[in-house]
């Protein structure tokens, strides 16, 4: 790597008078400012939004986080998992287990869930990474099933029928109801910003460059000295850790857990996959667009019940066949915009 950067430096000094290498674009600078304004507005939401809207926003955040993380796995790392519910559920059960048995404060338990999720992924990775491509996908599903069946055996957490978070623990966050809901809301917002920040920072780092290289050609990138296995394990473990924290927060919002709900493939993987596919796989903006579309559809079509899922599945298939880069891919290709630029561009001065 060092020799290439020296080469760039020499060229850089020779050309510095005429060219500059830039990452941000006018669009991205405007987008960044608007994002800051938006985040400021969302931080203030407990003062302007009603209780129901606050809950809805919290739910939207968790899906933004989960889908961005899944997109990092599938769209950038080539690790298609249909077993992310393993970590969401593990997070939920970690929250319940730690708070009920050890008396850890709930929000601390959410943070600890990240450590446990990362450790779990580190243990699973050597086994799962023996499976290639689509078989890896089903392997992750089996792992999630093992988690589900195992937690269903834990009688102290309600076994197969599940349990509720005791009132004393809920009140320990804050005695005042609106303050408590505010705290949970801000935690969800903060965690989602962490997830998004992680994805963006990773993609802009050397590892991100390595990921792009691996995606384009595994053989070529390996010959450039990229350690493919470690790069993939790193992304898998980090993604799992954050997903587990998100899972803990989801069940802190729900206050009730059961193996079926915690390890639901529909809720934590199917919806997430549809969001990413519809929004645009392999783009940072895709999961955000997809989540908005998903919630817009859900709020308008929810009373259709199973038909809603039929429509969602059909839309995802059509998008996959006709516009594999999703809604955001279509927009970005047509107008050439990137709200979160990853690429560097050479500009004339």
């Amino acid at each position: 790597m060092s020799s290439t950067s020296i080469g760039l430096d020499i060229k850089g000094t020779a050309m510095s008078s005429a060219y500059a290498i830039e990452r941000s674009t006018p669009t991205s600078r405007v987008a960044a400012i608007m994002a800051l304004v938006l985040v400021a507005g969302l931080i203030a939401a407990p003062w302007w939004a009603g209780r129901a809207n606050l809950r809805l926003l919290g739910e939207i955040y968790t899906f933004v986080a989960l889908s961005s993380l899944w997109n990092l796995l599938a769209g950038y790392t080539g690790l298609v998992s249909v077993g992310q519910q393993a970590f969401v559920g593990l997070g939920g059960y970690t929250l319940f287990g730690l708070t009920i048995f050890t008396g850890v404060p709930p929000l601390v338990a959410v943070a600890l869930a990240g450590v446990i999720g990362g450790a779990g992924a580190l243990l699973l990775a050597p086994l799962l990474f023996r499976l290639q491509g689509a078989y890896f996908a089903i392997g992750t599903w089996v792992a999630a099933e093992v988690f589900r069946l195992s937690f269903a055996q834990v009688a102290a957490l309600g076994g197969g029928s599940g349990t509720s978070l005791p009132t004393a623990i809920v009140v320990s966050i804050a005695a005042d109801r609106s303050l408590r809901e505010g705290l949970i809301y801000w935690s969800a917002l903060a965690l989602t910003l962490v997830a998004l920040g992680f994805v963006i920072a990773l993609l802009r780092s050397r590892t991100g460059l390595a990921l792009t290289a691996i995606r384009d050609s595994e053989i070529a990138s390996e010959s450039c000295g990229i350690n493919i296995a470690w790069t993939k394990i790193l992304v898998y473990v980090a993604t799992a850790a954050i997903s587990t924290m998100v899972g803990a927060l989801i069940f802190l919002q729900k206050l009730r857990i059961s193996p079926e709900a915690a390890f639901s493939v529909n809720d934590w993987t199917a919806f997430v996959i549809f969001i990413v596919v519809i929004g645009g796989i392999g783009t940072i903006e895709g999961p955000l667009v997809g989540t908005l579309v998903f919630f817009a559809l859900r709020e308008t079509l929810a009373n259709l019940g199973t038909t809603y899922l039929l429509i969602l599945g059909a839309v995802a298939i059509v998008v996959m066949l006709k516009a594999p880069k999703g809604l955001w891919g279509v927009v970005a290709d047509r107008f050439g915009i990137a709200l979160v630029p990853i690429r560097r561009q050479v500009k004339t001065r």
């Binding site: 249909v82 499976l131 392997g139 199973t306 039929l310």
Partner: protein, 287 residues
């Protein structure tokens, strides 16, 4: 004696898992496609059999004469319309399209048949059994399932090694472009492979419907059992898949012998054990 009995039942159960797995293995072999909707197709075939039995009053086994061709036709159309356009680029698009198909099938069945669990009655054969020795009794139905599984796998082996269709499968699997130069339309060949897979799915679906209760959400577990049988047995080896199904079946019945909650868990853990110790499966194909 309980343990011997559990092992014997597990071996026979393995036949059903091999039936789940054979279609999965076949299409992966021909076109490197992993069909996430495979289990849901099995359940859809079970509902189709149920509907046909209700309408015509046929015996479930006789209904196979209608269910198998219908499923095969559906498989062919599915491949030509939905799956062929996704093949060739990477594994992501076929994976996601079959995932979408899985959700559509589950919710379509839910809308059409409600969430009530159903069962197909096959009459006297369900209770018929053979006493092998004191304490060991084998049911006629599990025995029949096992025999059919062996016959299906033997049939697939014959098709692959002896027929021109099998040659077309192997040629397309080795190199679809060169096969096309030899005047093989690989889209058609893939369609035929999926039709054959869906035909086996139909047989598996009828046996599933007779053996256990099923509901629209039963599909994913069948996919996972089939997948585990394929991986335990070794990719690309059909007899290995049968052995993988048997290993999985025996693990489950032995697990159930320990505690009912351990039935499925034991199967999954044995799968991970094999993956850890023999990543290419117990009987990998000689390459």
């Amino acid at each position: 004696m309980d343990w011997v009995n559990a092992i014997a039942q597990g071996i026979l159960l393995g036949g059903l898992y091999a039936l789940f797995a054979a279609g999965l293995s076949l299409i992966f072999g021909v076109m490197r496609l992993v069909n996430i909707a495979h289990g849901d197709l099995i359940v859809a075939a079970a509902y189709l059999a149920l509907t046909i039995v209700q309408i015509t009053g046929l015996h479930p086994f006789a209904a196979a004469i209608i269910v198998v061709p219908l499923m095969a036709l559906f498989g062919y159309i599915l491949q030509r319309l939905l799956l062929n356009p996704t093949l060739g680029k990477d594994f992501l698009s076929p994976l996601l399209v079959t995932f979408g198909l899985s959700v559509i099938l589950q919710n379509g069945l839910l809308a059409g048949f409600t969430a009530d669990s159903r069962r197909l009655s096959a009459g006297a054969i369900e209770t018929a059994s053979f006493d092998i020795m004191p304490g060991l009794t084998l049911g006629a139905l599990p025995l029949l399932m096992f025999v059919v599984a062996v016959a299906v796998i033997a049939g697939l082996e014959v098709i692959f090694s002896r027929t021109s269709l099998g040659r077309a499968f192997r040629a397309t699997s080795d190199d679809a472009e060169i096969a096309q130069l030899m005047a093989l339309d690989h889209h058609h060949v893939y369609g035929l492979a999926m039709a054959l897979s869906a035909g086996i799915v139909a047989i598996a679906g009828i046996f599933l419907a007779i053996r256990t209760n099923f509901d629209p959400a039963s599909g994913p577990a069948r996919l996972i059992f089939g997948f585990e049988a394929v991986i335990i047995g070794g990719l690309g080896n059909l007899w290995g898949t049968l052995a993988g199904g048997v290993v999985l079946g025996v693990s489950q019945t032995l697990g159930a012998q320990i505690s009912p909650g351990w039935q499925l868990l034991a199967g999954h853990l044995v799968f991970f054990l094999v993956l850890g110790l023999r990543p290419r499966g117990l009987f990998p194909r000689m390459d």
